[in-house]
Amino acid sequence: MYRRASIRAILGLLLAVVLTTGTAFAQDEAPESIKIGYAISKSGPFVGGASVTTLPNYQLWVHDVNERGGILLSEYGVRVPIEVIEYDDRSSSEEAIQAVQRLINQDEVDFILPPWGTGMNLAVAPLLNRAGYPHLAVTSVTDRAPELAQRWNNAFFFLGTSTQGSEALVDMLSAMRERGEVGSKVAMVAASDEFGIELSNAARDSFGAADFELVYDRSYPGGTQDFQSIVGEVARLEPDIFVAFSYPPETLAITDAAMVLDFNPTVYYTAVGTAFPLFVNRFGDAAEGVMGIGGWDANSPLIQEYRDHHIDVIGAAPDRWASPNTYASLQVLEQAIERVGRIDRAAVIEEIATGTFDTVLGEVTLQDGLLTKLWWVGQWQGGEFVALAPIEREGIGEAIVPKPEWPEAE
């Protein structure tokens, strides 16, 4: 008994010596934590988007990484946990710039995650470029993305361009028309802000080129929640296809008005917010057949696992457009850091630009700084937002056309 105990004690002591010298050696070099900073809208008009698409995924990723013990820095042979520094940019680009400056100069963070929204990302982009931080511009849809990715080698875009989006939509509609499923009359409304204007301009060209007839083409001031007169006018024109490049509160208000007026075109499409869990929670069975921007391959095990994990940790489902892309961008960052094996931002940028990564979207390789495999049109089918376009991509679902009747209101 005595001897066995002493042997155990000696072994334990030896192990302790090995461990302490080992870690002592590593501690000379390895940082205690990897500091990750971000400025995000926690108040102001952008909070509605940021707190659905962006912030939950940052929290989820930090949770996942730290549960694993941190990011493995092979140079030191240890996992280093993430420490988060968070600021509220109050939905103002000036605040966002100031916060990012503070993260760089004062907090001296190792990496910076982007704010939410096209305008905000463009606002902080030059700053991140000058300071040499990788910029994962996920929630920004702009036609200038290819040009910007070229100008700023540290900037990476994960959501494509407005033109790709509208072309994917129009291609899908053209194919439906060829199959005789839908007519040519299109009514289009758009929010008169950067996103709505860019998408509707691109769509106008695409519809024109594909010989669709635009019977209604108007914009409305962003933030409008009274849509009965617009939808009433649209319904009077009896279009086959209704397209609204709308933001979340408007998406709900337009759909409400369409239900009240029993306006049920063959194809009914609203933009941002359609993919939010809020939409299907609010409309229930009435969401069936509604199309919107985004979508995902609901049959992919990766996506299913991601969705369930998001619900477990965050307590709510992710949005089915930019959420998985946001999480994927963080996985890209993590794997790039691990491959470099130390905090070396220039090397990480190089790795993101050239490497191939395993993400919830599957294998991801950026082309000239852009993620090109994207989903552009989704449709609510039995509680899932099934991707329908681009039609040449694998993994698309069967579209439900014509859209089913709106159910009777309770």
Binding site: V47, Y220, S229, P248, V260, E410
Partner: protein, 290 residues
């Protein structure tokens, strides 16, 4: 036919605007508190209605039974304990107005912060009574029709109360000239507290009713404050009937422009009408000439 449709749709939209503004006109016109946290109160009560509906399955219309007394008490307490010191030390009404702007500006962030902590930043929306109804040849959702009805009823009832009743006369006296009012044995402070609390209650009624069809989140209050201010100033500060008429007018103007010209110009139409009214009547439609 189109004219009738525009008129009805416009009146329904305008009813919402009146409902948003009617409480502010009491708070600003009588209690002389330019309440910048007005929209936050509005949104808070929308959250209240949502919470009652979501967790207790209580209809927002029944929820008013809980929300309105709560709003009255909270607003009365805010006035009695937080605003009274300002009223006491203010040398004149202008000084009180400046102080109240500063105070309620701070209150705005407190309320908004609390809402953000409790509900987070995401959008909330539920559907209640989004049932179409044929109303004089136009289709109208029942929830909006209720909001319109309540706005009109509140406007008329309050107007009659103010003009016909004794306490109403006292309220009007305070609105016109608090110093002289105190000379004829009106307790100016308690009348002001009453006006502020009733204003807050009306605001809460608006928030709860609008939550039936508007999407809202914790940071949306400012938009409601702005809309309310436009309607209040256009209708004449302190004039309940003015707020009602100005709200309806704006609704009809917006809908006409949206239907006949371009929906993109609705905001421009709002402000054009606002400017025109103020050019002709600087104190608002029903305002007293100063």
């Amino acid at each position: 036919m189109i004219a009738a449709d525009i008129a009805i749709t416009g009146l329904i939209v305008g009813g919402v605007y009146s409902l948003i503004a009617i409480g502010l006109t009491l708070q600003y016109g009588v209690a002389r508190i330019l309440n910048l946290a007005y929209g936050e109160t509005f949104v808070a009560s929308a959250f209240g209605a949502y919470w009652l509906y979501d967790s207790l399955s209580m209809s927002p219309l029944v929820g008013l039974v809980v929300i309105l007394p709560a709003a009255f008490i909270v607003n009365w307490l805010i006035y009695s304990f937080l605003l009274t010191p300002l009223v006491r030390r203010a040398a004149n009404r202008d000084a009180l107005e400046v102080d109240s702007i500063l105070f309620t500006f701070g209150l705005l962030f407190v309320v908004q912060g609390v809402l953000l902590v409790i509900f987070g930043g995401q959008y909330y929306s539920y559907s209640y009574l989004a049932v179409p109804l044929d109303f004089l040849g136009s289709v109208v959702p029942v929830n909006r029709l209720i909001a319109f009805g309540v706005a009109v009823a509140l406007g008329l009832v309050l107007y009659l109360l103010l003009v016909r009743s004794r306490i109403g006369t006292a309220v009007r006296a305070v609105a016109v000239d608090p110093r002289s009012a105190s000379l004829v044995a009106i307790n100016v402070r308690s009348v002001s507290a009453l006006a502020f609390a009733v204003g807050g209650t009306l605001c809460a009624a608006g928030g709860a009713l609008i939550s039936m069809f508007y999407t809202f989140n914790a940071s949306m209050g400012v938009a409601f404050t702005m809309k309310a201010l436009i309607v209040v100033i256009m209708g004449g500060v302190g004039n309940v009937l003015g707020a009602l008429v100005a709200g309806l007018l704006l609704g009809v103007a917006e809908t006409s422009v949206s239907r006949l010209i371009d929906p993109g110009l609705t905001l421009a139409a709002t402000f054009l009408l606002f400017i025109l009214v103020l050019l002709v009547r600087p104190t608002g439609l029903f305002g007293r000439s100063s």
